[in-house]
Subunit: 188 residues, 2 copies
DNA sequence: GACGTATTATACCGTTCGGTATATTCCGAC
DNA sequence: GTCGGAATATACCGAACGGTATAATACGTC
């Protein structure tokens, strides 16, 4: 493992545990056994390090999402696949998802929120597109794609947060129940 | 308005907008038109200021919750009243609730999380007690009170977060739909 | 072996951090 | 009036902050 990766991993652990603002650059390089110029050589700044971390890890999730989110007439099936991608990713990257979650709910003008806004927008767009396609088959969904996308993502993130704290398990049964519950909320 | 209150209000605005860690003591006293010794006279420390802020505002919510959360045989009715208390409180105290939300999702070892943990525990206990009582009438709810409480609170907070970002409106219809959706998730 | 580039460390920059010692002002009690 | 305590300001503390100038090292290329 090279020093660049070492820095990314150490930063992820620290940001996830205590938050971007509370962790200093010195602490990151100390825990990686390196010094500050190395960090600034690779990432340019503290926020540059954060953005690299976010985009590299998020890219993996986003690629999977795009391949699973193609709507072909069956809304619950598509949502089930999307939810499953999120849940599996969160299970395999709990530390990263914890950080992304805390930034998802971060204060509106915080430094770290600016960095995740693009990621959130990409997720939102992807889901909105899904619901727009679905609305062509289900007229009563028309015009609500923004709210649907935000609500669905909110529900996904809530279940992941519950799972990270040990309240639920992200298994197949929960995936099914979550989608079922969401669909029921729409059509009632 | 006295200086103590002025400090609390300014701190709330800043913490809510940019987060506890990102806001310095100097900035708080500057925006209140005061100096640091005044802040340390009233609150002892930065975290003391935060805890005063949290407990004073949260106490208001908690009092209302306790009076509305007494289960008398009708689960959906009780949950509806509880949800309504949350929604009304969040609507009337959007700045405060934004701060509480960001801390609810804060990294596990962050300074600010320690301060809100007690509040979260009190909410969790109150809801657990409700579901334990309800399980006496509905056998199939037995033993799941922890998960139910956490899920319900998660759902409430998710809807409030959506509302704070303009995706939904916390009206009577949403309250009803949220409770209906939650009940459907339990009994299916 | 000499050169160029990428990588890394030493040592330091000015600023801000949370917090405080000391002194002053204000104001009610007597 | 004067005394005492609460409230507030001036000025400062050492430490940590994010960031950098400079130089040394390591390494593949020729």
């Amino acid at each position: 493992m090279n020093n660049r990766m070492r820095l990314l991993n150490c930063a992820l652990d620290l940001f996830s545990a205590r938050g971007y603002d509370a962790v200093g650059v010195q602490e990151i390089v100390d825990s990686a056994g390196l010094t500050k110029p190395t960090l600034y050589h690779y990432f340019g700044s503290k926020v540059g390090l954060l953005e690299t971390l976010l985009s590299e890890r998020f890219g993996e999730l986003y690629t999977k999402l795009r391949s699973e989110a193609d709507y072909r007439g069956d809304v619950p099936l598509t949502l089930h696949r999307v939810a499953a991608v999120y849940f599996r990713f969160a299970e395999r990257n709990p530390t990263y998802y914890r950080m992304q979650l805390s930034m998802w709910f971060a204060p509106p003008q915080s430094e770290s929120l600016k960095s995740v806004t693009r990621l959130n927008e990409k997720q939102q767009e992807l889901l909105e597109h899904l619901f727009i396609c679905a609305a062509k088959d289900h007229g009563n969904m028309k015009g609500r794609h923004k709210a649907y996308a935000a609500t669905f993502l909110g529900m996904i993130n809530t279940y992941i947060a519950l799972a990270l704290n040990g309240y639920v398990v992200l298994d197949e049964a929960l995936t099914h129940r979550a989608v079922h519950q969401f669909m029921h909320g729409i059509f009632s």
